[in-house]
């Protein structure tokens, strides 16, 4: 079965694959265009936030960019603005390709993408003007959340319809991960919003438990499902080797959703003791899927003759490595022995940044660089940027997440020793935060290259579209041969 699938993946030749790709064009541009903007905005806000640690009074007179607001807006712009729409776009394309049919209901995801990005705009502006809900990773107020929820459901309808009309009945591993993710988000997002952001929220400490559950299920489980589903599609395709063992992938899938969903309650959270205990036990068990993914990735890629040269394969390889690392960090910080040092330090943000930027963003950028030229029917306008961006991202993420993690451990050691003044623990981390800023700057530069590629491509496509339209409008008046040239132009645009 794998071999069959492979020949279908490496397609792109043949009229049929190009028609599938063309059917995804406008929805994907709508999703990725907004995502690229939010990636840049999110990283810029992140940079603005971290500047507080260079010069505390930088935004003392500007309420909109005070640390607490800028940081929350940055996190949400990256997670909701970039990660989720990029993931959904890639998912739609993978579903269409695996189903060997054109995208079903293509108008629906176009509308949904615009609603989604409007929702993110509403939410981000709300945070900056002080209207955040106050729950970590769920800061968007109701107006924004409702738009996001509706848009997600619309995209899910199109994705499930595409899945339903597939020609190959048997499922590929990516199908499991992506379908589960489609189901996951509406459940966790509606639960968290209905219980936390209403007129009758749950009482007291139950809010802590529900917010932690939601954040873990979104950042760890959802991003992992979509990121791994994408990686399991592109790794074999790009490495030119079949995915190592469907059974191991199935095992990784089951253990990931069974155990991963129980993590997230901090070890010393002020909750009944059974909750952190259950969460820690689940974390130990989550070691199983993380290691299984490592085995699958290594065995799939090893022995491949495909050189990655800073291209999409490099992205997916680096992203998968980051997933394994961030998974191990998350598991470690759920162990009481380790969390004594790292809890309440920058180690936690280091882990989420590695998961969001190092793993998910990198895998998505790689996938988009691979699929977008096919979808658009022409090459990337700046192919060299792909390689430069890979190096910028890799260096930036190692510096950024690495210095946060080391700074966190350093801070935790000082925090854990009551003889050390608290100010010492802050200043210990400060040096690392400042060094990490360089890394963040590199990532921001990389994201600008990404946005440049996406927008030049969109612009080129729109110009070609306008040209065709002008020719079409002019043609009957000038001469009858114009309609022939119109047909030629259209062909050029499509091919």
């Amino acid at each position: 079965m794998n071999a069959d699938k492979q020949s279908e993946f490496s397609g792109g030749a043949g009229v049929f694959a190009s028609r599938i790709d063309a059917s995804c064009r406008v929805p994907l541009l709508a999703l990725f265009g907004g995502a690229a903007v939010w990636l840049v905005v999110g990283l810029a806000l992140s940079l603005a936030a971290i500047m507080t640690f260079h010069k505390p009074d930088m935004f003392a007179d500007c309420p909109f960019l005070t640390y607490g607001r800028a940081q929350a807006a940055a996190n949400d712009a990256l997670l909701y603005g970039f990660c989720i729409p990029a993931g959904l776009g890639v998912m739609l394309w993978i579903f269409a390709r695996l189903s060997q049919t054109e995208l079903a209901l293509p108008l629906v995801p176009i509308v949904a993408a615009n609603i989604w990005h409007l929702g993110v705009l509403v939410g981000t502006v709300a945070i900056l003007i002080g209207d955040s809900s106050g729950f970590a990773w769920l800061e968007f107020p109701r107006g924004g959340s409702v738009l996001l929820f509706a848009a997600f459901l619309l995209i899910a309808i199109s994705a499930v319809a595409t899945f339903g009309q597939r020609r190959e009945r048997e499922l590929y591993p990516s199908h499991w991960f992506l379908l589960a993710a489609l189901f996951w988000f509406p459940w966790i997002y509606s639960t968290a919003n209905l219980l936390l952001i209403t007129h009758h929220p749950v009482r007291g400490a139950a809010q802590i438990a529900i917010d932690s559950w939601f954040a873990n299920n979104l950042i760890f489980v959802w991003l992992s499902l979509v990121g791994l589903g994408t990686a399991f599609y592109f790794l074999p395709k790009l490495a030119g080797r079949p995915l190592h063992s469907n059974y191991l992938a199935l095992f990784a899938f089951w253990t990931l959703i069974l155990f991963g969903a129980w993590m997230g309650i901090a070890v010393s959270a002020p909750l009944p003791a059974w909750m952190p205990a259950a969460s820690s036990a689940a974390a130990v068990l989550t070691l199983v899927p993380v290691l299984a993914v490592a085995v699958i990735a290594v065995k799939t890629v090893r022995g491949s003759e495909a050189a990655c040269k800073g291209g999409p394969l490099c992205y997916v390889k680096f992203g998968t490595t980051a997933f394994i690392l961030s998974g191990l960090m998350l598991i470690a910080s759920a162990c009481p022995q380790f969390s004594r040092v790292t809890e309440f330090t920058w180690f936690g943000p280091a882990q989420t940044q590695l998961q969001i930027l190092g793993f998910f963003t990198v895998v998505m950028c790689g996938a988009i660089y691979e699929l977008l030229p096919r979808v658009m029917g022409f090459e990337l306008p700046f192919p060299k940027f792909v390689r430069v961006q890979h190096w910028l991202f890799m260096l930036g993420i190692v510096l950024w997440a690495g210095s946060l993690a080391v700074g966190g451990v350093e801070q935790g050691m000082k925090l854990g020793n009551p003889q050390t003044a608290f100010a010492d623990s802050t200043s210990a981390a400060l040096i690392f935060l400042r060094a990490g800023t360089t890394g963040l700057l590199l990532i921001l530069l990389g994201s600008l290259l990404f946005a440049a590629n996406i927008f030049t491509m969109t612009l080129k496509w729109k110009l070609a579209l306008i040209k065709t339209m002008i020719v079409f409008v002019k043609s009957p008046l000038k001469n009858p041969s114009a309609s022939a040239s119109l047909r030629r132009d259209q062909k050029e645009v499509k091919s």
């Binding site: 505390p56 929220p201 749950v202 007291g204 809010q207």
Partner: protein, 265 residues
């Protein structure tokens, strides 16, 4: 997995289980929580925050203070001490016995055993429970944070990062209103090398009129405001200061017992 339905069922089972655990569980166990009584007392805990402090929580939320401050104190168990209250009818026997026993730095079981021995000899004792742990040694709290501390808060701002110190007990630790306000306006005026951003936008810099405002901040001598000006807190600044002063998790509870230290009058 053969078809879409089996994937759906797998996801349904996995997410459903964790939903029952970490959403339904907490809602059942904590969602109907009520006030409790303070240990060895008829006082109830927690008491609803005063009105301006409740508004102040919204200022705290709006500015994302929880991005850097936790409101949860950690504790590594307790240490017990046995104190002799009354030597009883045989003071010599009891005091001889006491001098042979270890009275401090005990576990609860050891303390019970020691207490039993002394009681058997005719004395009467009291076991004092002293919470242990770094946070407590730092003076950030007198006991660990528990669910009850957050009963009336919405949204609960427990936080997860200590870029700044813990605030669970800041109202008891730093009860001076003027200190809190000056610290919000210019943290480095009071805490050397503070990394906290100043919240100047919560204050008004005003020219001093005929008489200075009764609300104007009293600055330390080495940090005077510009000559002829005074700094007056906006309503938001007063509210958030009231909220900070209302943060007092210092009642001994059944789930987090400790023996209050009697302060000398």
């Amino acid at each position: 997995m053969k078809n879409g339905f089996s994937v759906f069922m797998a996801a349904f089972i996995a997410l459903g289980l964790s939903w029952c655990g970490f959403v339904l569980g907490p809602v059942q166990q904590l969602g109907t929580a009520k006030q409790t009584t303070v240990l060895n007392s008829s006082d109830i805990y927690p008491i609803q925050r005063p009105g301006d402090a409740t508004l102040g929580l919204q200022v705290y939320r709006a500015n994302g203070c929880a991005a850097c401050h936790t409101e949860q104190v950690r504790q590594d168990g307790v240490v017990c001490e046995v104190a002799l209250r009354n030597a009883g009818k045989n003071p010599v026997v009891v005091s001889n016995l006491v001098s042979t026993l270890k009275l401090a730095d005990l576990t609860k079981d050891e303390a019970d055993a020691v207490s039993d021995k002394i009681t058997a000899a005719g004395g009467s004792t009291e076991i004092q429970i002293i919470p242990a742990g770094t946070d407590i040694t730092r003076g950030w709290g007198v006991r660990r944070s528990v669910e009850a501390d957050f009963l009336y808060d919405y949204p609960v701002q427990a936080g997860s990062l200590r870029a700044g110190p813990d605030l669970a007990n800041v109202g008891a630790r730093l009860p001076d209103l003027n200190w809190q306000l000056v610290h919000l306006y210019a943290p480095s005026a009071l805490v050397k090398n503070s990394a906290m951003p100043p919240f100047r936008f919560l204050f008004e810099l005003r020219k001093v009129g005929a008489a200075s405002s009764p609300d104007a901040l009293q600055f330390p001598k080495d940090f005077p405001p510009p000559a002829g000006f005074e700094v007056v807190p906006t309503p938001e600044a007063k509210e958030i200061a009231a909220y900070l002063l209302s943060l007092k998790a210092d009642a001994p509870l059944y789930e987090a017992p400790f023996t209050p230290v009697m302060t000398k009058p």
